[in-house]
């Protein structure tokens, strides 16, 4: 899925969190957004995924204008995301959280729910199985029936990814997926992201872990104070003098 | 709960247990048919918006059941009073009436305090075949006549008649009406509208206030500014009429103010203070026992009730307590007349009571009249120098 951002801006009380930003993510790419703290990375994600409304600018998904659409409609078009501060329903089990992700792909009509019609029962059974598979895929097979509140931090991060995958994304936004993970977990995450991309899903990630970013990304966008500082392959970015100045000199 | 006959604590424990057992686990708990006192069941609005009615009613019932038992009871048996507080809610009244009839197996029902609570219980009493004596005003309780249903207060129509009659005598032709939006005020308002023309009186302004309202100056200003108003009639009970009276005085309205029997207690005088001067209302002679002529048959009854109530409870009597007194005494009279507590016999004895002197008036019941009072039982009172006076 192709994502195109043009002239995107958002200010909070006079501070430009995102300022006239342009970039394009080609289908199937692993695209990283990096930058120092406060560079506007999370704001950018919240704008793209419809949680914030941009002040101006345009967002296109596969050439369709999706600016100002609410998150649920973006999800229906194939844009899914995870959160830096995880948003997991702690009142539900791990499996149910993933089943929630399949919401758009289940039988969910009012009458079939009310009367518990056979088609709904079949759909729910399938949904449960697929959710279990996904949990295994992300490496959470130990926690199938656990309450989400009982999961360790690393597993919750993977649970969020499984939930997003359950919705069959065309493009997946990952907000700091490696934050708080140890080296083994990060390695597992790297393999997971690679295999997601291998399935043809476009991946956009915001990440602080430079090792991870540099090893898996095809394109890297560097933000500073909401503006584009640089964009290019990991090697290009690493050699960009502005980037070096911002990261080392600033 | 039951006055006399058992220690309260044990009764309480037993009854609570019985109810829990029956409702939660389900046990066969037909109440123990003990030494067979006569069971009088009462449901009154002792709390809630109608507590001004229910509170004195309950106190009266408790007082007189004690008194009657001290004097040897009825038909040689003790009276047992089982009473519940419906808080003025019809659904609660229905539940308690059913409990009295089915679980407590009372011989006779007294209640409710309001028309709504009474009407909710009426079908139950009819179904169970037990006499019910209501203490509520509306005419619909006894009209049309239902075999098992009686009531002691005059109808609100009689109150309206008494007031309109006095207005007619004073030559008043156009009046402003103000009334509460509760059951008492609504029903009174309807009756006043229905009969005003009979007295050549036109209602030119008609305003209402909520039972919990705290200020009626807007309504009264409107009435005052309506052209041609010669007097104001307020139909309501509780604190509302007291506030109306105070506002009326403060607005400096000079027209005669009439209240209904809904304020007929000394409490009203305390609340309104000097603002009450000149207010007229129809009421039972209870408020002016000493002003009654020596030969009035009601004089001793009223004096005795007032004395007993005030001695026992340390507060002044109200018209509403009198309704409860009459209800209980009519029931006792009927049982003694019938010589039994068998419901049908008591019912038909009630219908045959004639010339029974109560606090509210003299009752002449018949199969066609289950109230038995006429408008003349209302005395017209006027407030002068902070006291009630009979208007001749």
């Amino acid at each position: 899925m192709r994502l195109e951002v043009k002239g995107l801006s958002k200010a909070f009380g006079g501070v430009h969190a995102v300022d006239e930003l342009d970039f394009t993510v080609e289908p199937g790419q692993i695209y990283a957004v990096i930058g120092p703290n406060g560079a506007g990375k999370t704001t950018l994600f919240n704008l793209i995924s419809g949680i914030y409304r941009p002040d101006c600018g345009e967002i296109r998904l596969n050439d369709e204008r999706v600016t100002n659409l609410p998150p649920e409609q973006l999800a229906a078009r194939g844009m899914l995301r995870t959160f830096q501060h995880m948003q997991v329903c702690m009142n539900m089990s791990a499996l149910e959280n993933v089943m929630l992700g399949r919401h758009l792909h289940t039988v969910r009509g009012f009458w079939s729910a009310l009367l518990r019609l056979p088609q709904l029962r079949r759909s729910e059974q399938a949904c449960r199985e697929q959710a279990a598979e996904l949990l295994e895929f992300v490496g959470c097979h130990d926690y199938l029936e656990s309450a989400a509140s009982a999961l360790p931090y690393g597993a919750l991060k993977r649970l969020e990814i499984a939930r997003a995958l359950a919705a069959k994304p065309g493009i997946l936004l990952l907000d700091e997926p490696a934050a708080g993970l140890n080296t083994t977990e990060t390695a597992a995450l790297e393999r997971l992201i690679a295999s997601i991309a291998a399935d043809g899903i476009t991946v956009v990630l915001v990440e602080h872990d430079m090792k991870l970013v540099m090893s898996i990304s095809e394109q890297v966008l560097v933000l500073d104070y909401g503006r584009r500082l640089a964009v290019g392959t990991p090697t290009e970015v690493r050699q960009n003098p502005d980037v070096i100045a911002a990261y080392l000199g600033g | 709960m039951r006055t006399l006959s058992r220690t309260p604590a044990r009764t309480l424990a037993r009854r609570t247990l019985a109810l829990v057992a029956a409702l939660a686990c389900g046990g066969l708990t037909a109440p123990l048919l003990a030494a067979d006192p006569i069971r009088i069941g009462a449901f009154v609005s002792a709390t809630g918006p109608a507590s001004l009615l229910g509170d004195p009613e309950l106190k009266t019932l408790e007082l007189y059941v004690e008194k009657i038992n001290e004097q040897g009871g009825v038909l040689g048996r003790e009276l047992e009073l089982i009473h519940y507080d419906d808080a003025g809610r019809a659904s609660e009244a229905r539940r308690y009436a059913n409990r009295l009839l089915r679980s407590d197996r009372v011989d006779l029902l007294i209640g409710g305090s309001t028309t709504g609570t009474t009407m909710a219980a009426v079908p139950l009493a009819e179904r169970a075949g037990r006499p019910l004596i209501s203490m509520a005003g509306a005419i619909e309780i006894t009209e049309p006549v239902r075999p098992w249903i009686f009531k002691t207060p005059q109808t609100d129509r009689m109150a309206a008649e008494r007031v309109l009659e006095d207005m007619q005598q004073r030559g008043i032709e156009r009046i402003g009406l103000i009334s509460g939006t509760d059951s008492f005020g609504r029903s009174g308002r309807e009756q006043t509208h229905a009969i005003a023309a009979d007295y050549g009186i036109e209602i030119v302004a008609d305003r209402t206030y909520g039972p919990q309202d705290t200020d009626m100056t807007s309504q009264l200003t409107r009435i005052r500014n309506t052209e041609g108003v010669e007097a104001v009639f307020n139909f309501g009970f509780g604190q509302g009429p007291a506030i109306v009276t105070r506002n009326y005085a403060h607005l400096g309205i000079e027209l005669p103010l009439y209240q209904s029997h809904g304020v007929a207690s000394d409490r009203f005088l305390e609340l309104v203070g000097s603002a009450g001067e000149g207010v007229r209302l129809p009421a039972s002679p209870l408020l002016v026992p000493d002003a009654l002529p020596e030969d009035d048959p009601q004089r001793p009854v009223v004096q005795a009730y007032k004395e007993a109530y005030e001695a026992r409870w340390g507060e002044s009597v109200s018209t509403f307590g009198g309704y409860a007194y009459d209800a209980l005494m009519l029931a006792v009279e009927a049982m003694e007349k019938a010589g039994t507590t068998e419901p049908e016999a008591v019912r038909s004895a009630l219908e045959r009571i004639e010339g029974f002197v109560g606090v509210t008036g003299t009752f002449n019941l018949s199969p066609e009249d289950h109230n038995g009072l006429d408008p003349s039982s209302f005395r017209l009172l006027e407030v002068r120098d902070g006291r009630w006076h009979l208007v001749d």
Binding site: - | D55, T208, T214, T221, H250
Partner: protein
């Protein structure tokens, strides 16, 4: 004509000021804890009834009023310490139900101690009524307005000028941040409940000579206060005051000019219209959602 209008206005503003004080109490507690304190009306009742009871014992009026307000303050403090704080982990709805329980409990106690009668309180000053451009005004109305205005000003100064007041505001805005800044949040919440109780009690005392008082007067006046707070956007101090006055005036005007049957309905219709067309209330703030 003008006299008539003025008469309605006086009636509306007087009762509206009472509503506003109660509404401020709701707002204070709501801002600090997101709880709708349904025991707020009972504080009003305690204020009025305790004054009446103390007067009957021969206590002079000013002292009786002070003691009554103190009683309400203590009850507000206890309400938070004994009933709300122990359940602080619970859902907001649960806390609301606790305040309903507390309201019924307080009403029950008042009924046992003071009985079910209505009582009047003497007017604070003589004469009881004065003439104003052809309209009559209770002198007590002046007391109500004056004291309400004073309370509002004191409250504003308290929040703007004192460290405790600023800490309270900080808690209202963001509990976690306030805690990090070293504010003792529990203490501030207790203060909010206590202050709200004081506001209610003051309203109860100053209005009692006009409204009369009884053990259950808090039900209606509490509800009206809540409605006033809702009109103002539930959470805005200015909104509570404007909401209270608006409610009082709309009631009086409707009762006078339109239909007295539907005068209460107008206030509630107002809520619906405001919510439908100005979803944050008149003065409700817009909260940004943080992810």
């Amino acid at each position: 004509m003008l006299a008539e209008f003025l008469q309605y206005l006086i009636a509306g503003v007087t009762i509206g000021a009472t509503y506003a004080l109660v509404a401020l109490g709701f707002t204070l507690v709501y801002n600090a804890s997101h709880v709708i304190n349904f025991a707020q009306g009972e504080m009003l009742m305690i204020g009025g009834m305790a004054t009446v009871a103390l007067l009957a014992l021969g206590v002079p009026l000013p002292l009786a009023i002070a003691l009554a307000i103190l009683t309400a303050a203590l009850l507000g403090l206890l309400l938070h310490r004994l009933a709300i704080a122990p359940a602080r982990q619970a859902d907001v709805v649960t806390l609301i139900i606790i305040t309903i329980g507390a309201a019924i409990f307080l009403r029950g106690i008042a009924q046992v101690i003071w009985g079910r009668d209505y009582h009047s309180l003497p007017s604070f000053s003589q004469p009881e009524a004065i003439n104003l451009f052809g309209a009559t005004m209770y002198t007590q109305s002046l007391w109500v307005l004056g004291i309400s205005a004073m309370v509002v000003i004191l409250l504003a100064l308290f929040f703007a000028r004192t460290a405790v007041g600023r800490a309270t505001l900080a808690v209202c805005m963001n509990k976690r941040a306030a805690r990090l800044m070293g504010v003792r949040v529990e203490w501030v919440l207790t203060l909010a409940f206590t202050l709200a109780a004081v506001l209610g009690a003051i309203a109860g005392v100053v209005a009692a000579p006009i409204t009369l008082t009884s053990y259950d007067i808090g039900i209606m006046l509490g509800l009206k206060g809540f409605v006033a707070a809702a009109i103002g956007g539930l959470g805005s101090g200015v909104g509570a005051i404007v909401g209270g006055l608006l409610l009082g005036i709309s009631e009086a005007m409707t009762a006078g000019y339109l239909s007295s049957d539907y005068k209460d309905a107008v206030a509630f219709l107002l809520i619906l219209l405001i919510l439908l067309f100005m979803p944050r209330g008149l003065f409700g703030s817009r909260e940004a959602e943080r992810v």
